[in-house]
Each structure stands twice: as structure tokens, then as C-alpha cells.
């Protein structure tokens, strides 16, 4: 069984279009990472069968789920897709046990065997004491676990998790993340995790697809995304600066301003990245080897406790990350004239 393979175009009534090519092998977790409005929920809906695609093909293992050209569409009830929805959508008029046994009772099992199997699932996730509680009485973390049990109980072939932790507060999130990682490991089929939180994606996924405006803008491992982001959004996630320019023998023209890169192999249209921590900030013109040195102004200062992010102004807007101590030592404030320096080796180049 080859997991999930989908290449599709789907559009919402509003006209918003999603065009995606995605492959998730069995036993791997793919994270779909993107900002709100990127089209991630649309993808969940077409995979679950709650919406039909316009063009293309969705195949799960040997079964084709949706193929407009063949006039083939498998109803959601007949797809073996387990979904953990963004607001969990636990049936409020049922208990936790009732929710978890729902999928089992709906298809094959008798009421009693469904309840018994559901109970086992709750035990596996360590929440069997919640069995009799009404779904509306569960806390955020409890509801998330019950939703996961409910999705897993009918033994689906594909697991979709739509922003499973966005409704939780920061502390619960950390605890639940570990449990989720364990639960994901035990699920042998392909898994798709939808999220806007890069940390979640970086920690839980084997491969990350970055989605923006209905399209996959980048695909790769966490490392690749972090070190070689291809869009400003991806760069933002990774904490890097991203510029478009034209490279010629290591000299990159960024629309008037020049950056020297050590990489001579890439020419023509390029994406240049400079990590925030690779930018040094000085009060006076620095001596030494860095080839990229210029004077600029501090436009914004953002304090994150253990680190500070500075935004510099013309000739090149960048975000630099330095320690609070450094800020103090350099006596930096908005408007201060500073010198920045970047080593040529720190300028990453990719074909753009």
C-alpha cells in the first residue's frame, strides 16, 4: 500500500482555488504549514470527501477516492479517513465514550461491541475516566484526546489532523504535543498534520509542505525549509531574511544594493537568504574580513526576552537577531545609526 497520493485542483464557491500535489508514504507524517487563508482547510475537506475536486486525482492505497475525469467520487462515509477537526467537533449530546464509539457503531459493530472497543481506545490514550463525561463538559486538552480516539477507533487508512492544538493554551500544548507524537507513531498509515505553527511542524513532521495562497510554495524536510526558505513566509518561519536578486559570480544585485556571496556556482535569478543571527551590528564601521558592510538605521526593536530582533532600514531592510546585552552595550534605540556586517559565506543562494 503506497499511502496517499493526490494531485488536485479544487475551488471554493468564493472562487478561491487550491492546486496541490502531495504524496504521503505510509508511516510518515507530512505537515502542511501555512498562514490562515492558505487553503489548508480546503485540502482537509477534499481529502475527507466533504468537498469534490475539480481536476485531478486522489488515491489512498489502491483505492481512488476522487477522480472527476473518471466520474468517480467516493462518499465521505465510505472513505477510511480519520479526521481530528480544528474545533474537535465532538458531538455535544453524547458522552466521550459515545463519541469514540460513533464511527464503529455507524458501520459494522453492534452497539455493545462498539462501546467495548471504544473503551479500549480510551484506555490506550489514558483517558478512560472520561468515558461517561458529556462531550460539552470536557476541557480543551481532554477534548483533543477524545477527538483523536474518535478518529482512530474505526481504524482509518489516512489520518488528518487539522490544527489539532490551536485551541489549546501554551502549557497544555507542550504536554499534548508529546502525546500526539506518540500516538502518531503508533498509526501505521499516512498522516497529514495541518498547522500554522512552525515549531509543531518542525517537531512532528517527517516532511513539510509550505502552503500559501492555495499553492505549495515549498516542500522539504524541516532542515531544508529552515536553511533554504523559498518564500518570505517560509523565511519568516525560519527566522531568515529572504531577498530576490540577480547573481553574477557571487555578486548579487538586489535592485541597487549589492551583496557578496561565497557561492559562485549560482547565477541569474536567485533567492538570497541571510539568517538573522548571521548579521553583526556595530556602532562604528567594523574592521575585518566581512565583505558586506554598510551603514543603516535601527527602524524597530522587538524584545523576546532572551533575544532581541532589530529591523534595519535603507539601503536593505533586514531583521537581525542579537542578545539583550548587546543592545545595552551598543546603546541601541529606534533611530540609532549603526553599521551591519555579513560574511559572504553567510549569504545563502538558491536558484530563484
Amino acid at each position: 500500500m503506497s499511502g496517499l497520493v493526490a494531485k488536485l485542483v479544487a475551488s471554493r464557491p468564493s472562487g478561491f482555488e487550491v492546486e496541490v500535489e502531495i504524496a504521503i508514504p505510509r508511516g510518515t507524517t507530512v505537515a502542511l504549514l501555512g498562514p490562515n487563508g492558505a487553503g489548508k482547510s480546503t485540502l482537509v475537506e477534499v481529502l475527507a470527501g466533504l468537498m469534490a475536486i475539480d481536476k485531478g486525482n486522489i488515491q489512498l492505497g489502491d483505492v481512488v477516492l476522487d477522480s472527476p475525469s473518471d466520474d468517480l467520487f467516493v462518499q465521505p462515509a465510505n472513505r477510511k479517513v480519520g479526521v481530528v477537526f480544528q474545533d474537535y467537533l465532538l458531538f455535544p449530546h453524547m458522552t466521550a465514550l459515545g463519541n469514540v464509539s460513533f464511527g464503529l457503531a455507524a458501520k459494522t459493530e453492534t452497539k455493545t461491541s462498539a462501546s467495548a472497543m471504544a473503551k479500549t481506545w480510551l484506555e490506550n490514550l489514558g483517558i478512560v475516566d472520561l468515558a461517561g463525561k458529556m462531550a460539552s463538559e470536557l476541557s480543551g486538552g481532554e477534548a483533543q484526546r477524545v477527538a483523536l480516539a474518535r478518529a482512530l477507533a474505526p481504524n482509518p487508512d489516512l489520518l488528518l489532523l487539522d490544527e489539532p492544538m490551536s485551541a489549546l493554551d501554551a502549557t497544555t500544548r507542550v504536554a499534548v504535543r508529546r502525546e500526539l507524537a506518540d500516538a502518531l507513531e503508533t498509526f501505521t498509515g499516512p498522516r497529514l498534520l495541518i498547522t500554522h505553527d512552525p515549531t509543531e511542524a518542525f517537531l512532528l513532521a517527517d516532511e513539510i509542505y509550505v502552503m500559501e495562497d492555495g499553492l505549495i510554495s515549498q516542500r522539504g524536510s524541516a532542515e531544508e525549509i529552515r536553511l533554504r526558505p523559498r518564500t518570505p513566509y517560509a523565511a519568516d518561519l525560519a527566522g531568515a531574511n529572504l531577498f530576490r536578486g540577480i547573481a553574477d559570480s557571487g555578486l548579487v544585485n538586489l535592485g541597487g544594493h549589492y551583496l557578496q556571496a561565497a557561492n559562485l556556482s549560482v547565477s541569474g535569478d536567485v533567492l538570497a537568504t541571510v539568517h538573522s543571527r548571521a548579521i553583526s551590528v556595530h556602532r562604528e564601521c567594523p574592521e575585518g574580513s566581512p565583505r558586506n558592510v554598510w551603514e543603516t538605521e535601527v527602524v524597530r526593536i522587538e524584545n523576546y526576552g532572551d533575544r532581541v530582533r532589530l529591523q534595519t532600514g535603507l539601503p536593505l531592510t533586514m531583521t537581525a537577531e542579537i542578545t539583550p546585552r548587546a543592545v545595552e552595550a551598543l546603546d541601541l534605540a529606534v533611530g540609532t545609526r549603526v553599521w551591519v556586517s555579513i560574511k559572504a559565506t553567510e549569504v545563502g543562494l538558491q536558484e530563484g
Binding site: G49, L50, A77, N78, L89, G103, P154
Partner: protein, 266 residues
Amino acid sequence: MTESRRRLRQRPPIGVLLLAMIAVVFFLLPLIGLLARTPWSDLTSLLGSEVVVDALALSLVASIAAVLLSAVLGVPLAWLLARVQFVGRSFVRGLVLLPLVLPPIVGGAALLFALGRRGVIGEPLYEATGLVLPFSIWGVIIAVTFVSMPFLVITVEAALRNVDTRYEGAAASLGASRWTVFRRVTLPMIGPSLLAGFVLTWARAIGEFGATVAFAGNLQGTTQTLPLAVFVSLESDRDTAIAISLVLVAVSLTVLIGLRDRWLTR
């Protein structure tokens, strides 16, 4: 918090209270008028009479049948109106509301012209099956269902519109067929509204007079429901009329109060 502050938080505004009290009195006055004229000494014998027993039985049978019929036909209609975009939907909704604005007697007469022995549909039906609807309990059931089903349709349609359909999507993703989704997710989620619809429908059905008398006629033991019995006895025997009215009020209040408490306030 000081004592006066706590009280301020809990008491409703005096204007609201006053107007609401006037409304309560408005509803209470006819009941008081009825009780004032009740022949208390003769009441037990009056209540035991055949006329009253027959009328009570007919009223209960017809009104409950109306609720069941309205549920079977009205819920699917409500679902269609709430969930499906079809040509002429506004017209259908207007049609459903028609019995609410039509004087019941007009509705009854119209039913007679349509479903009577010489009626547009009734005549062919009679020729083919020998079935006659007026002057029978079926006529009563049809007449009271006609005026009361709109309540069920309107209530259920509104409830279905307010249901978060994402829950139905979740149920589908778990493998539930459309019927299972409706039965185990949609229906329970509109439960209170559904029950309120049933109560309204029943209340309207049991009080119906004009359509019943115009379509089904008036015959003790066959078509004479409580309201008809009241109307006819008003002509000659006021005491009987009042006794029967009391039965109607008592039955209605019992059901309405009993149901409200148990189901509509969770």
C-alpha cells in the same frame, strides 16, 4: 458587594416587570371569567356525560394523530426547505405558511372542495376506492393537521438552519450514512426545537374549530371534538358549554406545563 448592589443586579427593570404583568393578566382574565361562571356543584355529572367523554377522546386522538402526521410529512419538508436550493422554494414556504393566515373556516371549506366526495381530488378518489373523508375521523385529522403542521415545519426549518453542519461532516467522515447522520446527530441536536414544534402543533390541533366543522362536520362520537361540543352547547346549555371548556383548558394546561418543564428547560 453591598446588599443594595446585589439586589440591583438581580431585579429586572420596573417598566419591564409592569408590562409583563399586564400581559399575564391579559391571558388570565378569560380563564377567570370561565371559572367564575363554572357550575361547580353540577360539574362532576356534567363531566361524566357521554358528550364530554366522546369529545375528549376524539380531540385527543385527532390532535395526537395530527402531531404524528405533521412529523412524518413536515420534518422532511422542513429539511428540504432548510438544506436544498430549489426553484420555487419561496413559493413553497409561502404555501406552508398559508394555513396560518387563512381563516380556519376558509381552510376547511377549501379542503371540502378539494377532498370532499364531489371534490377535485375527492371525487376520483371516491369513484376508485369508495373512500369518503368528510364526516369521518379522517376528516377531522386532515382538518386539524392542515392548520397545525405549519408550526412544525417552521420550527424545524429554523432549527435545521441553525445547526452547525460541520458536525454532520464530522459524522460522515466517521462512516455514518446520511440517514445515520440525521438520526444520531442532526435530530438530537435540534431536539429542543423539535419538541417545541410538537407542542405548538399539538396545541393548535386540539383547539381547532373552523376547519373541522367546515370539512368534517359535527357528529358526536365521530367528528365532534371538544371545541365543536362547546360551540354547539353554547346554543342551549351554557353549563355544559362551560364544563367542556374547562376540560379543554385543563387538558391543554397539563400538557403544556408538563412538557415545558421537562424538555424545554435543560
